[in-house]
Symmetry: C2
Subunit: 323 residues, 2 copies
Amino acid sequence: MIEKEGSMLLARKDIKVFDCTIRDGGLVNNFHFTDEFVKGVYETCVKAGVDYMEIGKNNSPTIMSEEEFGAWNFCKEEDIRRIVGDNNTDLKIAVMSDIGRTVKEELLPKSESVVDMVRIATYIHQIPAAIELIEEAHAKGYETTVNVMAIAKSFDGELDEVLDVLSKTNVDVIYIADTFGSFYPEQINKLTEKYLKVAKTTGKQVGIHAHNNIQLAFANTIEALTYGTSYLDVTISGLGRGAGNCPMELLIGFLKNPKYKLMPVLKFIEEFIVPLEKELDWGYSIPYMLTGQLTEHPRSAMKARDENNTNYRDFYRSLLETD
Amino acid sequence: MIEKEGSMLLARKDIKVFDCTIRDGGLVNNFHFTDEFVKGVYETCVKAGVDYMEIGKNNSPTIMSEEEFGAWNFCKEEDIRRIVGDNNTDLKIAVMSDIGRTVKEELLPKSESVVDMVRIATYIHQIPAAIELIEEAHAKGYETTVNVMAIAKSFDGELDEVLDVLSKTNVDVIYIADTFGSFYPEQINKLTEKYLKVAKTTGKQVGIHAHNNIQLAFANTIEALTYGTSYLDVTISGLGRGAGNCPMELLIGFLKNPKYKLMPVLKFIEEFIVPLEKELDWGYSIPYMLTGQLTEHPRSAMKARDENNTNYRDFYRSLLETD
């Protein structure tokens, strides 16, 4: 049985609020955000006291089409600097590296970049490539995290082995990532215990990246934090792939640290999210619930939403079909 | 420290899924549901294996206007029978009594009514009247519950005293009611422990009625059930006052008892909820989050939603204003 860390009424110094609005939101609109929008998120994060902002992915233009995707799928140094300048603030800038889409030689040395952290997203079968990238980014001077995806379908004791291997790398933070939005708080509790056990013996920290498919993104995030998880991924108004993420405004309301401010987040929501809600579709809905309950990737649900398909019984039947 | 009851993978015999779609949903449209809609909910509950359906309130027409409110604010015997006939099913029928709005002499003996349960909603200052009504309903042959409202603002040890007094009545179930939608799972855990302690020594059971103001209705419901709460209030698609309730479809997805079926609920959502969503406004939004975070009644947020007011900063400032 794992112990609670701190008290609901007090601030905890290890907590980091981690904004992924542009990166996870980019999965909704292929990273086609205006500079004004990205600057808005940046300024909101600075004013709200948020600790990190993930500004996009650093996919290689040699691998993905720059015509199909917007700038924040590539995060070139000049694009980031157009938004954040030299970033003389307390907010740290992160980018996400997808294994197989990042070319590690393209990573600048930290001394030449305004980026502070590289977050490595990996499936279990890609772990050796992930370790190479962790070590490359670490050697070049970056903070690093590793987000092991699709763990809800990892085979039996496989996850223990993965955590053991990762604990021997130079990675700073290991993330609990709920790729299918399928975990219940009880399961997050057990994962928190498992991840922290490895992290504590090797001087690393634990993070959580939740999805809202079964309306538990916020609940799972506070479950993880209550039991010692430090890095907490959020997006403004939950903007993110499919059912979206843990909303920044809910987490800030829960945390008692006066460093975090709600008013700048409300300003961004008024000015940018209210109009965006008329154009883009994200957030909880029945198709996401169904894929979440069945621990399936939400891509079929995203398709159903795109097609305004509300024939939920047929959709459910199609998910239940077996060979 | 309270112990878990059962396992996530197994069914628990004490669990009762309690539908309040018409009763809590009636607070959104002044109980103006068509018979077709109410029959739809009834048939859905029967087919989905739901244990109770609360069909409305039994306010007295001598106290509230029958012109302003629809039939389900009064629940006359003939109106209920028009929907459920003699209700020869396993589904039990409940009505809610608001203290001060129900005239206890108007309550028929159970032998003359198709209603199985009377649920008494009370504020702490109305407890003596609530006890009278509990005993009247019990004496007339009904199952009874008591839902003590606004406990998030109860003074210090007052709630312990209330629970002690209620434990000496003939009430069958004592409900944890999250009137302001302000509780976090940690707090629900403590309330569950407190309520169960009283209930277990007096042969009563505990229920939970959650609201979704801070996206925790479902999370709080499963937290309560995991630690021994038996009666679980839900509404289809969360239809209910303000930010709404714990969605039936999410709870059924969580429970592993094959008695509960998801497909009939999806059918109702397709046929009745999808069109209703274009007419009625309910569910999580920023104004409800703000009243929830501040432990305020959502009525100001309901007004902001009615007026399509998205000036969230001004709304927040108005909530923060002090004398």
